[in-house]
């Protein structure tokens, strides 16, 4: 998979991180920004995946980073720093939801039975959506809208695994669920998104996602 994932497992990066963490613990707190800079986008996107609101996501991202700084001594080197940071972010975001519970509405799909098999709804020949179309804001926006219609438990898993390229094990750890649950939810999230973006389900774009009738940006 592209980019970030491979770079983050680079031993040189990890070594540099260990050194940074050691120096921060010894009192050079100013280095903390350097430590988290490669991950700030991921922290934000993890928060956004859970909260679906930009202002809340930014606020929670900031809180999570501050918390990581405050508790840097509790970080244990057996997990990756990025996983630990995302774990804190997930907790902060979930806490925010609990606090404002009355104001957050989750889509009905969240209550769907996880155990039952998901049957794909569209079987028309798949017309590929090329990666280059991601240059266009409207395409990115429609993909983000499709993702936002998924229930929280599917969104969380999908974002951590498929957008942030955490491993199945790391995703499970960050969310506090079993690897089996990660796999089940991931399957369902991917198939649901496929149906939402499918060429053959034309009508569903306008009725379910309130997209302009019949037009897709690819």
């Amino acid at each position: 998979m592209p980019g970030e994932g491979t770079w983050l497992t680079d031993p040189a990066v990890q070594l540099n991180e260990e050194m940074l963490i050691r120096r921060i613990r010894e009192g050079e707190h100013d280095l903390f920004y350097e430590l988290i800079r490669p991950y700030e986008r991921r922290v934000y996107s993890a928060a956004l995946a859970i909260l679906r609101n930009e202002a809340d996501a930014e606020d929670v991202a900031q809180e999570a980073v501050l918390k990581a700084l405050k508790h840097i001594r509790q970080f244990r080197a057996e997990s990756r720093f990025s996983t630990w940071l995302i774990q804190i972010t997930v907790n902060e975001a979930r806490m925010r939801i609990r606090k404002h519970h009355a104001h957050m509405t989750e889509p009905i799909v969240d209550h769907q039975d996880e155990e039952g098999n998901y049957i794909p709804r569209d079987f028309a020949d798949w017309r590929e959506i090329p990666s280059e179309t991601l240059e266009r804001k409207e395409v990115r926006q429609k993909l983000a809208e499709a993702l936002a219609t998924l229930g929280k438990k599917y969104r969380e898993v999908f974002v951590l695994r498929d957008m942030q390229h955490l491993s199945i094990e790391e995703t499970a750890k960050a969310l506090g669920i079993s690897t089996a649950s990660v796999k089940t939810r991931l399957l369902r999230a991917r198939l649901m998104l496929r149906d939402l973006l499918a060429p053959g389900l034309g009508g569903s774009w306008s009725s379910r996602l309130s997209f302009e009738k019949g037009t897709k940006p690819w």
């Binding site: 934000y44 991202a61 098999n117 798949w126 991601l134 990115r140 957008m163 998104l193 496929r194 973006l197």
Partner: protein, 180 residues
């Protein structure tokens, strides 16, 4: 080994992860080759993974890094510094002392609201990130559909917005309105 469509769908995600036994993988591949429906499911699922996995899908709001860095700087614990560090710290202390003065006056006298009809809020988290339009009177959460002049919006913290006399939006900030 022979597999049916349902089994292919159930394992399609693991298949893309490279997480199925060799026997099953071969059986799935053979099935998919002869099945238009499963080909469509595989192509689509692979496309979904590839699109969302692209770095371009993760967008952060404008100014996010700067605001984060700023917030961190505000909350840095005391650290061992060199001479220059102490100079900077001393300069910052002077600034902080100045802003305490300003802060104090704003606690005792609530700033005048820009709108005579609006009501001030209560309990708005001071560090919440909000947006205002330059000539507006109200502050909003960034996604609020009731922002009037979207072309001239500015992002700031709730503390700053309130200090400048903006009042909370009655829609997106409903929970912070003082009941009349």
């Amino acid at each position: 080994m022979v597999v049916k469509c349902e089994e292919v769908w159930r394992e399609i995600s693991n298949y893309l992860e490279g997480d199925v036994e060799p026997d099953l993988r071969m059986a799935m591949e053979e099935h998919i080759r002869g099945c238009k429906r499963c080909t469509a499911v595989l192509d689509g699922t692979r496309n979904v993974v590839q699109l969302y996995g692209d770095e371009r899908m993760v967008e952060v709001p404008l100014g996010f890094s700067q605001r984060l860095q700023h917030r961190l700087e505000e909350n840095m614990p005391r650290s061992r510094r060199g001479f220059l560090g102490w100079m900077v710290a001393a300069a910052a202390a002077v600034l902080v002392a100045g802003s305490i003065e300003v802060g104090r006056s704003s606690i005792f006298s609530r700033p005048e609201l820009r709108s005579e009809h609006a009501k001030p809020g209560a309990g708005v988290p001071p560090d919440m990130v909000v947006v205002v339009s330059t000539d507006g009177k109200i502050f909003h959460r960034s996604g609020c559909p009731f922002i009037h002049d979207k072309a001239h919006v500015q992002t700031l913290t709730a503390r700053e917005a309130m200090r400048e006399g903006y009042a909370p939006c009655v829609r997106c900030m409903k929970q912070y309105l003082i009941a009349s």
